[in-house]
């Protein structure tokens, strides 16, 4: 399929009966949505389940979808809502987080002759500490920070995704960065990360 066809056109094709257009939409967004959810829930299996649920919900609602916002924003909105539901459920039924899982052996093995396994382990530890700092943000700060920094959404799109005013999004983003600065600065000043 022509990659130049935009998402909204694919949706229109789906709505007019061309079911395969949905396959193309899934192909375009499955990795992004999975990554977003993985960062949010930090558990591979749960991220996969929620990704499936996102596309399941999208498929069922797509017939009535109106192009008021970008298709991708709508998809992130479904994902964000499901992630919020997940975190609510998780409070009641705690699960093992990504960092608690045993690191697969393949990740520890040097990928080439010049890489240093000790350095790899140190990098993983540094990554873990930083991701834990991001987890300490409030749910709204974290959602705004992740959507704007990692998913490449404009502030306006983040606002649409999270049903917030653009000014509110900016406030959450500023608070998130300041909070991360407070948490991480002592660590980088002491060369711990």
């Amino acid at each position: 399929m022509d990659k130049l066809i935009d998402d909204e056109m694919l949706v229109a094709q789906f709505q007019s009966g061309r079911q395969n257009a949905f396959d193309e939409l899934m192909k375009r967004y499955k990795s992004k949505i999975f990554s977003y959810l993985l960062r949010s829930v930090r558990n591979y299996e749960d991220a996969e389940d929620i990704t499936i649920e996102v596309f399941f919900k999208a498929y069922r609602a797509l017939d009535n979808w109106q192009p008021k916002a970008k298709f991708s924003t709508w998809l992130y909105k479904i994902a964000s809502n499901l992630a919020i539901d997940y975190h609510r459920t998780k409070v009641r039924h705690p699960v093992y987080a990504l960092e608690d899982m045993e690191i697969p052996e393949a990740h520890l093995v040097a990928t080439d002759l010049h890489s240093d396994p000790v350095q790899q382990v140190e990098d993983q530890e540094r990554g873990r500490i930083i991701r834990e700092a991001v987890d300490q943000l409030s749910p709204k700060q974290k959602a705004v920070f992740m959507l704007s920094r990692y998913e490449g959404l404009q502030l306006k799109e983040v606002a649409e995704t999270l049903d917030m005013a653009e000014g509110t999004v900016k406030i959450h983003l500023h608070r998130a960065v300041k909070r991360l600065q407070t948490l991480l600065r002592p660590l980088w000043e002491n060369n711990e990360i």
Binding site: S31, F56, A133
Partner: protein, 206 residues
């Protein structure tokens, strides 16, 4: 001495490249003469670099991505079955009134007639696997394919239960569940025939 008021939000926006060109130029001019803001921008940049790097290390396994489409369609097929199940349950509730009083005989006669028809269509009893569909097939076709596979799997599980555990009650429950799923397909007649065989003690195992 209080810090520069621009060393907060504006410094973050600059570090995150969120300022418009009209805002950026004056802020860069300001930076040349403001130590507070220069330090703040440097610090916020470090925060963003560290977090970007740490998040980039979280990679989605390629293997997990391969199955997403298939699992979405399976999920849709399962939802389709649930909708059917609720409709069938409602029908069964209405149909249940047939089995009161003298109507039992009529209902039994209908059931026997259905089973006879099913027996005559011997091919129905052959458990054939559903061939995989090419990727170009429509989503609806794939959902139907997974539905058929689920029906077939439930039939197989019912027969295995009968064979391994000889549990008539469980086998019957599974066959009824399969029949409910099979609403509107030839598999309904298959389920009826197996139920009849189970009740008469002649149910063959795979």
């Amino acid at each position: 001495m209080p810090k520069c008021i621009k060393s907060g939000g504006q410094a973050i926006d600059y570090a995150a490249k969120l300022l418009s060109p009209e805002e950026e130029e004056p802020f860069e001019e300001h930076l040349k003469n403001c130590l507070d803001c220069t330090e703040a921008v440097q610090s916020f940049r470090t925060v963003l670099q560290l977090t970007d790097q740490a998040q980039a290390e979280l990679r989605v396994p390629e293997l997990a991505l391969q199955d997403i489409e298939m699992n979405v369609y399976k999920r849709l097929a399962a939802a389709h079955e649930q909708t059917l199940l609720s409709r069938v349950r409602a029908s069964i509730a209405n149909f249940g009134s047939l089995f009161r009083g003298p109507r039992i005989a009529i209902a039994s006669a209908i059931a026997i007639a259905l089973i006879t028809v099913a027996l005559l269509m011997g091919n129905l009893f052959r458990s054939e696997s559903v061939p995989p569909l090419p990727e170009t097939y429509s989503a609806v076709a794939r959902i139907e394919q997974y539905r058929q596979q689920d029906i077939q799997r439930n039939l197989e599980e019912a027969l295995i239960t009968h064979h391994l555990r000889n549990d008539a009650w469980d086998t019957e429950s599974r066959l009824y569940r399969m029949k409910e799923q099979a609403d509107g397909t030839n598999w309904m007649a298959v389920a009826d025939a197996h139920l009849q065989n189970l009740q008469s003690g002649t149910l063959d195992t795979p």
